[in-house]
Every structure is written in C-alpha cells, then in structure tokens.
Amino acid sequence: MADFDRTPLAELAREAERAVSPDFEQVVGRARSRRRRQRTATALVALAAVGAGAAVATALPHRTDTSPPVTHRSSPPPKHLSAEDRIRRALEDGSTRIVAAADPDHVLVVRRYCPRRAQRCWWGSEVSGAPASRRPAAQVGPVPVAAGTSGFWIEPPGRLLGLDGSVHVPPAGTQGDATPSRPTRDAVLGMVGDGGFSVYEPSRDRQWSVQLPGVTSPPIRALVLTDDGRIWMQQDDGTRALVSSSGDGGRSWTRHDLPRLASGRYGKVLWHAGTVGVPVYDDHGRLQEIRVLRESRWTDVPAGRFLGLRLAGGGPVAEPDIAGLSDGSLYVRDPADRLFQAAPDSWTSWSQVAETPAGLALVGSGDVLLGIGDDQHTVYRWARPEWQVVD
C-alpha cells in the first residue's frame, strides 16, 4: 500500500481543477430547474412503447426529495413489471431521453426507456399530426442496445434521425440534444459515451453492422451533419477543440483543430451560412465570438458584432442555446428564454423572434426547430409565431 505513487492521480486532479471554470450562476439555474420540475405535480404522458405495442398513458408522481444523501444502491427490479410500470420506473430513474425529428408535416418523437437494471432498452415513438392509421408507418427500431447506437432507422422512407448526445453526460449548463438530421437511406450514425462515435449501416436483414470502430477519446462534444454530406465531429476537453470532418461516412477524417484557449472555452460546433463555426465563451459563460472555418482557416467573427445580440438583449448572454437547421438557419435561446434568429447569410445579424418556454433546449432537426422542455419530456415545435406542444 505504501508503494503506490499517487502523484499521477494528484496531477490529474490538479489539471482538472485548473481546467474547470466555476460559475455559481449555473448551479443557481440548475437548482431553479430542479425546483420547477418538482413543482410539476403530475404530467400526463402518452407513450407508444415499442414492444408493448400500445399507447400508454401514465401520470408521473409528485416527487420531493428532502432526505439527506445516502449511498445509492440499486435494488433488484421486481419481476413481471407491466409496461406502464416500466415506463414510470424509467422516468423516475431519469434515464428517459428524447430524440426528436421532424418532416414539414409531422413531428416524430422517439423516447428511449432504460429501466433500472434492465437487460435492454427499448424505444417508444409518437407521431404528431398523423391519423392513427398512419402511425405504424413510422415504426421505429427497436435499436439493438448491443450495437451501442442511439441512432434510429425509420422506414419508410428511411431517414437519419440524429443522435442522442445524452449518453455522454454533458457539462452543466448544456442539455442532451439531437444533432441536426439529414434524410438518407445509407447510413445511421451511432454515438455512445465511452464507446464513442461509430457508423452503422442496416443490412438486408435489418441487423446492424459496424462500419467504423468507436472513437472514444477525448469525449465527443458534438456531431453535425451538413447538407453537403459531411460529418463534423468535435471533441474537446474544455479549453481545446479537436474538430474533424469526414466526407465518406466516417471512414477517413480531416483535422481542423482549434488552438487552446488562454481562458474561456469552446461551445458546440455549428453549421450556418454554408460554413462551420464554433462559439467561444468566456470564463463566465458569456458568448465572446464565433470562430468560423473559411477556406480551411479559422477566422473570428468580431466579438463586437456578435455581441450585438447581447447588447440588444439588454444583458449578457450566458450559455446561450444554439441550434441550426438543415437550411442553414440558426437560432439562439438566451437564459431569459428569448429566441433569436440569425440572418441566413450571416453570423452577425440577429433579431429576436419570440419567447420560449422556460429552460427550453433547442434541437435543430432537419428543417424544423424543436425544443425539449426542462422536464426533459415535453417536446415543442416552433410554428412561427409561437411554440406548439407536440402531443
């Protein structure tokens, strides 16, 4: 025991301590969000669970946890749980995540259910705006958990639905989301935390084959599929951003790494106005600039121009939520729950278009802007000039 050299561990811990940027406001926002969720006494959720084969309506129990912390111990699940109980359990467990995709007429919401200590997860899907008779046409998965993918294959017509980034737990202040999607019949992209990013293709028997081994380290922060068919992948460790692009489905990659920041940190890679951009935040989470890749070189959008958004809003834009659509339109939600839209050909011209539900996490999904409420379950669709609940 005395021979163990703790120096590398201590250095690792010190590096981590230096890398983080404490911001108490994030904690305050997070605590507020928790209180809002706890105030929600019940939430009626209509679910169609794949495997259960029927829509299930369930009410979430009111939960107030004021007990002191105790060491978490999972208890064995009772046998023969009903589908409804499984779903409730999954929701209580906090493991239900949402991936949303859309076409111009319908919004397809896919939820993953991973009950505590279950041997497998399964998927539930709902289609809004479609008559019940059409709903089976949007059958989803189930995606085999063994493949480790959180992509989805929908048939017909075959559509890439984006990726659930929630498996890799993002830092506070961000929320798990789905990357912009693009119709395709050729590939499905999978992404898991430690398993990294993989490319999967469905074979004739609808099984999944891995086309690319997992990319595991550093952690993947964001994936973007652009309308020119490229995949953009961003990995980072706070102050450094490793950006790669692939034009052949992930078989080969070109690096476009960003330099280490002296202070602050990078946000998620974006696609807008025909170019890729990466936001830069200061140590307080305020948007400073966006670095845009033009002709293989990163150039800064002048902070003063971009900060016009901040000045117009009357306060600092801390941890803005940014989402891009396949047509290149770009939206920003600020902490005051205001929605801004960028001009289609510019990173610098913004206008406020609406307010958003509190704590909405924006999801750019194809050509439709969606939002996931801070209960992690309610899905909204942006139908100018207002948000509509997808039910």
Partner: protein, 175 residues
Amino acid sequence: MDDGEFVRAMYDASYRRLVGQLVVATGSLAEAEDAVQEAFARALNHARTFRGTDNPEAWLRVVAMNVARSRWTRLKRWTGLMPRLAEETSYDDEATPDRIALLAALKQLPAAQREAIALHHLADLQVNEIAAQLGVPAGTVKARLSRGRAALAAALRPAADGPHTRTRAQEVHDG
C-alpha cells in the same frame, strides 16, 4: 450569512477540489463537473439541511458520487455490451498522452475501485471512513483499494524498456 450564501461560500471553496476528486472517480472531466454541479444544485435547494450537516464537503462528495454512479450504471449497460468497440480506439490525441493514458487506465477499473482510490488518495479518507460512506465493510474497501492500485500500476507500467516506451494504457488507447 444566509443559507444560500453559505452554499455559495462552499462552492468557492470546494468546487474545484471536488471536481478533481470526481475526475479520478469517474475517469471523465465532463462527468465529474456535471456530478459536482448537480450536488451543489441539490445543496442549494436544501440549503438549510445542507448547512446543518457536520461535514458539508463530505455531503457534497457523497451526492456527487451517487449522481455519477447512477449515470455510470446506466452507461455500463451500453458499453458493457460492446467491449470490443471500446478497445478499438484509433483516434490519436498527441497533445496529452499521459493524461489520456491515465484516464484510459482509470476507465478500465471497475467504478467501485475508482471511487475507493479517489476517496483514499485524493480526499484523504481513512478506510473506515470510506466504508461508512459507501456502506460496505472495511475489508471490501481494502480489497477495492488493493485491486485498483494493482490494476492501475499494471496499466501504467511501461510496456518495454527504453526512453520512448509507452504505457500499456497508451497502447490500448492508440490501438
């Protein structure tokens, strides 16, 4: 100082240190930061209770580790079913090979061993204190420490002699 200000003061004093400890316990800076933030959010929502605890930093550490453990349990269902993929890492990260290697080595350990190592070697808790915190016998903690240290040492041991040797963890990482 009101209860909220007390949480704020604890945040200023303990946040970085807790993240450092959780990095070793989780093998991930992002997960560590998220778990510690979540712990402080819960402290803020129960500020009076939190302030009345004997050791607020220990309270935060327990909550953060519980949060991380819950997420790890869910994640394990995925990664545990695809160990081959996890081993086939081919993406180079030349900038920080030592840190990547150490993180890779930590990730090879069972979560329980990582926690024990973090609590003992970074939080400076004694075996009995760890046992009480985790709710397991002291002998179990000793076994986790012993096995974890042995596995970590083996993973970080140079694979061959010479000035440019790479650790086994680096080899795994580099494919």
